[in-house]
């Protein structure tokens, strides 16, 4: 990578750190004194939106969304996220072996485009 790109990486690291730490500065009083717990709801919504959008574009297709429903139910019921994700991946693997789903992804999942037009999912 060029020196310019490394400067960009450092800026990204610093910016991310600032976003993480902002709550201990000015945001905290706002979020603790006003109305509903929007901080908690907002963070949950951001994670769910990101995960579902990634799954939506995943080559495993609808099976990935079905697996996500299973993960939600199991995680919420037991609090065991690793177990839920492990079972879901096992189910997807089994479905792939049985030929019920088209194909498994061969590359890292692409992120949703928050900064540009939609692209073809990675295969």
């Amino acid at each position: 990578m060029s020196a310019t790109l490394w400067v960009g990486v450092f800026a990204l690291g610093l910016g991310t750190w600032a976003l993480r730490g902002a709550a201990w500065l000015s945001v905290r009083p706002v979020c603790t004194t006003t109305g509903p717990p929007l901080g908690g709801l907002g963070s949950t919504a951001l994670m769910v939106a990101l995960g579902i959008t990634l799954l939506r574009d995943d080559p495993v297709g609808v099976a990935g969304l079905v697996a996500a429903v299973g993960v939600v139910v199991l995680s919420a019921a037991t609090g065991r996220v690793s177990l839920a994700v492990g079972l879901a991946l096992g189910g997807l693997w089994g479905a792939g072996r049985a030929g019920w789903i088209d194909s498994a992804p061969t590359e890292p999942t692409s992120l949703p485009e928050a900064h540009g037009p939609a692209r073809e999912p990675a295969r």
């Binding site: 993480r20 907002g42 579902i52 037009p117």
Partner: protein, 218 residues
């Protein structure tokens, strides 16, 4: 070892295999984008944010410049603002240096685990809990990135890529308890499916889900 640190480590350890797996996917992606294993690990140490790292790498792969790398990564990191706001009140007053360190360690995992901090812990022990959980996640993540960087894309089992979104969804919903939270998750998921084609559609979905949850709370 204090109660808080021990509890934090024990709470985060079960999630470590999943974090290592996702880190390996990101490490492999970095190699595919033309970075060396050393560059991949250094980038991960500086940024330490999975989605921001993936966004930055995708921009790099498309030949984007430094400004685009920063913009794409920061959009992905916006959620940390909400995480911090939700987490900070329960941790009490934290000294400056520790505050900076906790901010660096704040990830999806640390936030999800910290939502289940035992009620009997003092604010200082809660901060220790969060820090210990964050440190475990950090070690797992960097180890995964290193392994993925060495193995390269060819060495990563196919379904590991699908584990990224599944882990994110699982972490978000592991503490679903109240009706407003269920409404929030349901509306967000529906909107994410409907608006996924739009640029920034997932951010709109999150905003809609938060608003719906807020209304249900009232």
């Amino acid at each position: 070892m204090s109660r808080g640190i021990r509890a934090g480590i024990l709470a985060a350890l079960p999630l470590s295999p999943g974090i290592v797996a996702v880190g390996a996917v990101v490490g492999a992606l970095a190699i595919r984008c033309g970075l060396s294993p050393v560059e991949s690990v250094v980038l991960s140490l500086i940024v330490f944010a999975g989605t921001a790292q993936i966004a930055a790498l995708e921009v790099l792969e498309r030949g984007g410049g430094a400004v685009e790398v920063v913009a794409a990564g920061l959009v992905m990191s916006l959620r940390y603002l909400a995480y911090g706001a939700a987490l900070a009140p329960s941790l009490g007053r934290i000294p400056g240096v520790c505050r900076g360190l906790l901010a660096y360690l704040l990830t999806d995992t640390m936030f999800a685990v910290s939502a289940r901090i035992p009620a009997h812990l003092s604010p200082a022990e809660r901060a220790s809990f969060a820090g210990a959980a964050g440190a475990v996640a950090w070690l797992a993540w960097q180890g995964g990135v290193l392994a993925g960087s060495i193995a390269g894309a060819a060495g990563i089992p196919p379904l590991l890529a699908t584990s990224v979104p599944l882990l994110i969804v699982g972490l978000a919903t592991a503490r679903l308890r109240s009706a407003p939270e269920v409404v929030c998750v349901g509306v967000t998921a529906g909107l994410a499916l409907a608006l996924g084609e739009l640029p920034g559609g997932w951010l709109l979905a999150a905003a809609g889900g938060t608003a719906a949850g807020g209304l249900a709370w009232r």
